[in-house]
Symmetry: C2
Subunit: 167 residues, 2 copies
């Protein structure tokens, strides 16, 4: 999909201001900006990790696993941490297993749970993709360091309020 010829957020805001006034138009524009920014960013990040046979959600799963002490997490827990439903977590892990980046194994602690365990190949792919993402400033190189901090700080308030985590 090519770029639109007009800023869809500015256009929606104009409609909102005409019908409902400036007040409700302001948060509407902010919400729509977050939604659209997420979509264009995800496309860009998927492109950046594609050479490693990864998508950004699969990359995130690998990174999470690589942080853990034994390189493993129950799939349910992985889904919680990634904010995705169990079925999505399962398909992410299945895709990673197909490429040899993780293996699935029954948990010894909980017989019903399945663990995703990162392989050496998975760690290498995560490292290489990380290098490229770091070099590309995770697709945010159009923004200044101050703007990065501003986004992180402002959205932290929002995430806390919306129940992403407890402070």
């Amino acid at each position: 999909m090519g770029p639109l010829r007009i800023d869809p957020v500015a256009e929606a805001r104009r409609h909102w201001e005409e019908r409902y006034g400036d007040e409700p138009a302001r948060p509407m524009a902010a919400v729509t900006s977050i939604m659209r920014a997420q979509q264009v960013l995800l496309a860009r990040l998927n492109e950046l990790v594609k050479p490693y046979n990864l998508t950004f959600p699969r990359y995130e799963a690998l990174v999470l696993l690589s942080y853990t002490k034994h390189g493993e997490l129950p799939i349910g827990k992985l889904g919680e941490r990634l904010q995705v439903h169990r079925t999505s977590a399962s398909s992410i892990v299945a895709a990673l297993e197909q490429d040899g980046f993780v293996v699935r194994t029954p948990s010894t602690r909980d017989g019903r749970a399945t663990l995703a365990v990162i392989t050496e190949k998975g760690r290498a792919a995560a490292r290489a993709a990380t290098q490229d993402l770091n070099d590309a400033e995770f697709g945010l190189d159009a923004l200044t360091p101050d703007q990065h901090e501003l986004i992180t700080g402002t959205l932290r308030t929002l995430r806390l309020d919306a129940g992403d985590f407890v402070a």
Copy 2:
């Protein structure tokens, strides 16, 4: 899914700073913030429009249609404007049709294209949902008006750079 006990963005940032330094950790934290904020916001917005048998993406489609001169758009065009693939646009329209919010009709201008046309029932649902969303400040009531503007302005730079629209 309940809230996590620690801020996942802060935790990822700590790992990044340890391994790669402060520089790459900053955009990584900002990107992860945008991704997670989008997910918690979408859940909240879906909840807000649920009483009207809508999801937020379906609500967005109705609003877009209601802006047009004749209340109609080709489904392909609707998808472009919503930043979703044709198949997603088709299933959004199919769901809206099932509830009587739109009807599908062949385009008289282009025989191969199908138009989505908003119904009176669809307009009423969009208006009622808009009232609730405006009252809830689109889920962004934890932020100040200045923070709303800051998000919109900063993400505009990003969206422009990432090809969401041309200035």
